[in-house]
Amino acid sequence: MITRPILAFVFSALLSAVASQSASADENFIIVQSTTSTQNSGLFDDLLPKFQEKSGIEVRVVAVGTGQAIKNATNGDGDVLLVHSRSSEEKFVTDGLGISRSDVMYNDFVIVGPPSDPAEIAGTKNVVAALQKIAETEAIFASRGDDSGTHKAELRLWKAADIDAVSASGKWYRETGSGMGATLNTGTGMGAYVMTDRATWIAFGNKGDYQIAVEGDTRLFNQYGVILVNPEAHPHVKATMGQSFIDWLLSKEGQAAIASFRIDDQQLFFPNGSKGSS
């Protein structure tokens, strides 16, 4: 009788699934909707244990693009939002979906490219001029194309350069519709320029011979903000625990923890927390 041992095995698997489900139902956790850059760089792996040790609150991070993170939070599928697209964040608050937004930290975007540098922009500081040269030479540029914070920042820069890059989509402008890491994998694979946040780039393990071509323009500034999802919009939001996470991030201790996170001796995020900064 073969079915019996299999049934017993599967049934015990089912039981253990149910059992551990109820074990984790102690509710002492919050869900943070955040972006891929904070997760892929390893920041959360460094930060969250420190917070959990202090508060006993487990933080569960869902790392998606800023656009999707905001949509998920709009649906009420999260207690805290930690993303990087200021105008979308402010809209989220004014729509009554979130309680005041606070600056947490910043880093900057860079444009990375192949050593052959087909658009001859390596070392350029002016990002708008660099984008214009990319468009002129029709050098391949890989865009996130996924409504993420980085994608929105990139589109603002194209607008500043007065170039309708999206009209060249499929030609020299390639929209991957994927996360930062996937876009870097694709971009480096086809010799394209890619705009990425510096944290993801430093932590990225598949750089090949790619180098940073453009950096240091103030327009490449990348601000991260944190918002508590409004419990009036979604009554199940764990406001007290969510707020204590936000308070910790903005506290001296949390800010120091952000500053101390380093990869290859480089600091990835720079704390500039200020409560209710917009």
């Binding site: 009788m1 073969i2 599967v10 869900i31 569960r60 991070v61 890491g181 932590a203 393990g205």
Partner: protein
């Protein structure tokens, strides 16, 4: 090619080291997928058997639908289950989103049509063989179903394995409804996706080889059990 061999070596290193994080991820993968396949069989086997045995209006349509649903894209299933379980969705109050249960539900939706469609085929073949016998013995419909499923049990094991293979390899649905949360809903496939996006291609590949090995072991176990059972049945 050296990176491929490095990945291969790396995967052995990972397994030999019995890395506790990796063990946790493998454990969750197995728990989610085996539970999902078990539940899919609970629904799919009787459903498929009924579709393969009885004549009723819309039978052909049901078969076509089941066959078509075998091709359900996991991302679409993920979206469907997300919208269902989201706090703003109809089942939101259950608070199941971003839990292993959500992942089990998603994989169950993916696997059930596969089990049902393949079961229908297996049972239909047996049924045409046995139809006269059943009629002459005046076997009732429920007994008919049960004896067809029982006689087809060895073929149906392969059906269950096909479902297992699809579920264990699937990433699109579980990453949406599970959220790939560390220590909560991170399974093999979502870890592979994450490491790929971090550019850690060799680690991702090594994890892929580990996943493949686990699938191999599960298949070998089931087929081994089957061989033993067949031998004792005809001994």
């Amino acid at each position: 090619m050296s990176s491929f061999w490095d990945a291969l070596a790396g995967s052995f290193g990972l397994v030999i080291a019995l890395d506790p994080d990796l063990m946790e991820i493998i454990g969750l993968s197995m728990r989610v997928t085996l539970t999902a396949v078990f539940l899919a069989c609970l629904i799919g086997l009787p459903l498929g058997a009924a579709a393969g045995t009885f004549r009723f209006p819309g039978r052909t349509l049901l078969s076509v639908v089941l066959n078509a649903l075998m091709g359900l894209p996991p991302v679409v299933v993920g979206l469907f289950v997300y919208l269902l379980l989201s706090a703003s969705g109809p089942l939101g109050p259950l608070r199941l989103l971003y839990t292993p249960t959500a992942m089990i539900i998603a994989q169950m939706v993916i696997v059930t049509p596969i089990v049902a469609a393949l079961t229908r085929q297996v049972v239909e073949d047996f049924n045409s063989e046995y139809a006269e016998q059943f009629a002459s013995m005046g076997v009732g419909p429920l007994d008919r179903l049960m004896s067809l499923l029982w006689d087809g049990r060895y073929s149906l094991l392969t059906v269950a394995l096909a479902g297992f293979g699809r579920a264990v390899a699937e990433v699109g649905a579980v990453i949406i409804v599970g959220g790939n949360i560390n220590h909560v809903t991170r399974v093999m496939t979502t870890t592979i996706a994450l490491e790929t996006s971090k550019g850690n291609l060799q680690l991702a590949m090594a994890l892929g080889i580990v996943l493949l090995t686990i699938a191999f072991v599960v298949n070998a176990c089931v087929m081994g059990l089957r061989a033993t059972a067949v031998r004792s049945a005809y001994a």
